[in-house]
């Protein structure tokens, strides 16, 4: 019962903050709302008994990536005056494409409420089970994705260097 109310609260916060990300005029406010959105999603993870995912979500997304976002936006010092003017046909095209996206989303989700979800292990999100799954069943994809990260890191360092000797 309690969990139900917590879920509704978190769902409200995440939808509200996600909307505010799009609606806010000030880019710094957008980033802060996005951080709030990430926190509420971390809350959803906790409700799903996936504490590890929640903690990592907060550390990586809310704690590291969004700080870099804030850095860039604070240093750019964006405000309403320096906002580039968008032409009418661009707005028109944006409205049409997002409308199409909405149609597709509604189409795919239609009838999903009658579907029965397969019930998995409710403790799959605990760190012990997650570790076992990652390092036993999905060892190769896990390692490959870590190599992907390494490549991205090396690439970032290369791009960040002033000159290559």
């Amino acid at each position: 019962m309690m969990i139900k109310y917590i879920f509704y609260f978190l769902a409200f916060v995440s939808v509200f903050s996600a909307l505010m990300v799009v609606v806010s005029k000030n880019p710094v406010h957008c980033v802060l709302y996005l951080i709030m959105c990430f926190f509420s999603i971390a809350g959803h993870y906790v409700l799903l008994n996936a504490q590890f995912l929640a903690a990592v979500h907060v550390i990586v997304y809310a704690g590291a990536i969004m700080v870099l976002f804030l850095f860039v936006i604070m240093l750019l010092n964006l405000n309403t005056q320096s906002e580039p003017h968008k032409s009418t046909w661009l707005k028109f095209a944006a409205a049409i494409t997002s409308g199409l996206l909405l149609v597709i989303l509604v189409g795919t989700l239609k009838g999903s409420e009658t579907m029965v979800m397969p019930v998995g292990n409710p403790n799959a999100g605990l760190i012990k089970n997650l570790g076992n799954t990652l390092f036993k069943d999905f060892l190769l994809p896990f390692e490959v994705s870590s190599i992907l990260f390494l490549v991205a890191m090396v690439g970032a360092v290369m791009l960040g260097k002033k000159e290559i000797k």
Binding site: V28, L32, I35, Q51, F52, A55, V56, V58, I59, A62, G63, A64, V67, L70, F71, M74, L75, L126, I127
Partner: protein, 347 residues
């Protein structure tokens, strides 16, 4: 259910109050220690030995005129110190302040919550802590504040990496990330040592990073007076400034508690089960032992502050990225190798 809620509420309030009081008296301790190291007397006017000085400081902070810059973003300007204070108090939840106390046949654990991701929770809170400084610095609408905030947050992000890597070695060794279990594994007997004996390099890295995370000298670049006026809190006055300064002392207390828990046995003390004491007495002595360790580390923070001058900013970044991170990765590899050999040859 109700008794559980009451007991947890009391525990939360007690730990919150203790954090605040310890932080309050850390300011007094800092001034006394600074005075001792510089051959002065220090605060001695308010009460005997100046013992009421923190109260006087607090009253002064509350009474000061509060100035909010005209052009700043008011909501965010207030939010900054709130986040700083909130995150400072949040970590205390997962620290095992003591073993269980038995009252009337019921066991009451002295840890607020033993979540199975204790260490990760700690890092999560740590990474939110950056926002207090950043939002405050940006909302001040002052270039010194912004520069200070950027310095603070880049410093905190950089040292968070090394800190996380140094803890990974410890987690590999203990096989758990619950702070309670890590403490219990360090319980005495049979030459079972504290983790610092097995992880000396990891401990040093963690300690250095803890200094950097709490913005203490030699890493207090964010509020470097000679370059940045007051850093991120230049525009703050009254109790909002007080919150920022106070959050630093709470952080110091909490990080000392974390260091004591992770590396120095937490509430364990030598021969705790060999003296024939009753369970409750052991628990109380354990709390005393934990606080003795915490006070030692708070003293260490102050000792270093009044001994070592601050780094230059490039030196700070070099230390973080080029020395501490490779060192902690080496430490992880060494720990892994030794763990593997131990499993193979059973020593």
């Amino acid at each position: 259910m109700i008794s559980f809620l009451i007991y947890k509420t009391i525990l939360v309030i007690v730990i919150f109050a203790v954090s605040l009081v310890v932080a309050m008296y850390s300011t007094y301790g800092e001034r006394k220690i600074a005075a001792f190291m510089q051959d002065r007397i220090g605060p001695n006017r308010a009460g005997p030995f100046g013992i009421l000085q923190p109260l006087a400081d607090g009253v002064k902070m509350f009474m000061k005129e509060e100035i909010i810059p005209d052009v700043s973003n008011k909501a965010l300007f207030i939010l900054g110190p709130c986040i700083a204070m909130l995150t400072a108090c949040m970590t205390g939840v997962v620290i095992p302040w003591g073993d269980a106390i038995t009252i009337g046949g019921e066991k009451y654990s002295l840890q607020i919550t033993d979540i199975n991701i204790g260490v990760l929770y700690m890092f999560g809170v740590l990474s939110i802590g950056v926002y207090g400084v950043m939002i405050g610095g940006w909302a001040s609408n002052n270039k010194f504040s912004l520069l200070g905030a950027i310095r603070a947050s880049s410093q905190m992000i950089s040292y968070e990496v090394a800190m996380g890597l140094s803890i990974i070695a410890l987690v590999m060794m203990t096989g758990t990330i619950s702070l309670k279990e890590i403490t219990e594994q360090q319980a005495g007997g049979n030459w079972n040592m504290w983790n610092v004996v097995y992880q000396p390099v990891g401990f040093l890295i963690f300690l250095i990073c803890a200094f950097a995370e709490t913005n203490r000298t030699p890493f207090d670049l964010p509020e470097c007076e000679t370059e940045l006026v007051g850093g991120y809190h230049t525009e703050y006055s009254s109790m909002k400034l007080g919150f920022y300064l106070f959050a630093e002392y709470i952080n110091m207390f909490i990080s000392s508690a974390v260091i004591a828990t992770l590396y120095f046995g937490g509430y364990n003390f030598p021969f705790m089960h060999d003296l024939g004491l009753s369970e409750n007495l052991i628990t109380i002595l354990g709390v005393v032992a934990l606080f003795a360790k915490i006070f030692f580390f708070i003293f260490l923070y102050m000792w270093v502050r009044w001994t070592v001058p601050r780094f230059r900013y490039d030196q700070l970044m070099n230390l973080g990225w080029k020395i501490l991170i490779p060192l902690s990765i080496g430490n992880i590899m060494l720990t892994g190798l030794i763990t593997l050999l131990r499993q193979k040859y059973h020593f």
